[in-house]
Symmetry: C2
Subunit: 323 residues, 2 copies
């Protein structure tokens, strides 16, 4: 059963802007302070509920000098943009299992500018994710678990993972279509499973889509209509490979009058169009369709894009050779 209808307001919905985090994968997190600051102000005006500033990646594993600062999201760097963030919008960062130093890099929530930590993992890493989540919950943060590449997991694994997360301290469990392989029918089928566990254990369910088959927005609003409440989007769809659900589409769809598109349109004019024209690459193209249809990581399509290739038939054969 759908929850609400196309005219109704759902007060449980939370919109998360992942432009800096997922979009940062396209430009090595090298956004100007002005860009991030203007996006922050835009999100507030548009009614966005959470803004994700990037990753909190391990500085042991990754060299700070080789990446923009939003790969690390140090407290002082976030504060330089948001001050004490005296707004209704919350701030999140993402921490990847096995790529973060969660025991040293997170301070107690009461001293932190961060509200929510989203723990990303593959399905075999759920036990590690649970450990991190429970630790961060103990520090006072809201937490999510973003199980990536879910289109490659089997249903038994998913049931087991959802049970483990159900019994953890996590607040939100995210269905993440990393490969852009889901279509509305399969996305909804998975979402219903997540929602069943969510109901049983009192967890909210989230959706994060990719646009390999031009379905990120469609999958987002379809899973939303069945009860998913946390939804990710990015300005002008900026995100790895084919990109994400466009925030402007999502805000235009939602009926709660707290959400508006106008300021985002201005941000797109002033910041996103120039960013794209500067050569940063993202967005749907046939190569992403092929990896999405084949349910594969987009890395080969990203390389194909970087090489400005358009020999799709050769690429298709390369993909089939590497099966």
């Amino acid at each position: 059963m759908r929850k609400g209808n196309l005219m109704s307001v759902r007060h449980d919905i939370r919109v998360l802007d992942a432009t800096i985090r997922d979009g940062g994968l396209c430009n090595n997190f090298e956004f100007s302070d002005e860009f991030v600051s203007e996006l922050y102000k835009t999100n507030i005006k548009c009614g966005v509920d959470y803004m994700e500033f990037g990753y909190r990646a391990s500085r042991n594993l990754f060299n700070e000098n080789e990446h923009g600062k939003w790969k690390f999201c140090k407290e002082e760097d976030v504060r330089a943009i948001v001050g004490d963030n005296n707004t209704d919008m919350k701030i999140s960062v993402m921490a990847d299992v096995d790529r973060c130093d969660y025991k040293t890099d997170f301070i107690p929530k009461k001293d932190s500018i961060i509200d929510m930590v989203r723990v990303a993992c593959y399905i075999h890493q759920i036990p590690s994710a649970v450990e991190i989540i429970n630790y961060l919950n103990g520090l006072g943060y809201e937490t999510t678990c973003n199980i990536m590449a879910i289109s490659q997991a089997n249903f038994n694994q998913i049931d087991e993972a959802l049970k483990m997360l159900g019994e953890s301290k996590v607040d939100v469990i995210y269905l993440v279509d990393s490969y852009g392989a889901l279509v509305p029918e399969s996305a909804v089928e998975l979402a219903k499973k997540y929602l069943e566990y969510g109901e049983k254990y009192g967890k909210q369910i989230g959706f994060h889509g990719h646009n390999n088959q031009k379905l990120a927005y469609a999958n987002t609003i379809e899973t939303l209509s069945y009860g998913v409440s946390f939804v990710d989007a990015t300005a002008m769809s900026m995100g790895r490979g084919a990109g994400n659900c466009a925030m402007e589409l999502l805000l235009g769809f939602l009926k709660n009058p707290k959400y508006s598109t106008y300021s985002l349109l201005r941000f797109i004019e002033k910041y996103m169009i120039p960013l794209k024209e500067s050569g940063v690459q993202w967005g749907y193209a046939p190569q992403y369709m092929l990896t999405g249809q084949l349910n594969r990581h987009p890395e080969e399509a990203i390389r194909f894009t970087e090489q400005n290739r358009t020999d799709y038939t050769e690429f298709y054969k390369e993909l089939l050779d590497n099966f």
Copy 2:
């Protein structure tokens, strides 16, 4: 209830390539013979069921010298590409109510290279459409009725229209989202209504989408899954404004082994990419999102695009002023 599932073959499905017809609205139907001929061969290799060559528009209303020949689709022009079309693929043309001379421009089917005529109309023109359809059926053609701009019709009108078409000689009734205003939920709701009448009167149902909200493919496969059987698509989404459902996405989705994407990928490399690079404009952009969300004809967004404007906020205000 969905019909079949994501693994099953539905033998009732018919794929129609509308590249020359809907794409022709982007370049005044000025395709080279080589382009049309290669697309014809590509469609055959890909298993496409119908190829639409364009409109059969009135030569009294429109000057032949001012448009490419595919606005008129004269018998000899189609034959110059397809010979006697000794293939499994059928050929269609579109005739707009009040813009065609159906009594003089259609010869008996037994002498014609055309298999199917798709009669396009707005909902208030249904009586005229029925007259044309019954006439063409008498000549021996398969016919469809494509009720355009359906997102602006009310349900009472739609019920009445479907009843009139049900009682006509039409073979297929098309749900046409001319404004790209539908989302999967509303598209499926409408499709179910069409399917109900289709079942009652023994008519097939078709779907033709536009990509204003990046939902043409999503709406196509969602309505398909509930029983729609005729689906339109175009190479690389080429079509008026934001374009249509991409044929490459649709062929990749369908499970019947008769459909394949490979030859279309080659056609995209060799013909569609150069066409786009030559300056012919189509495809999703924020201006189309705005007219789609506002449930409006895309004409203002097309003009905005032609002027290479990116001042989306001004455009948005202009749209609201013209409500």
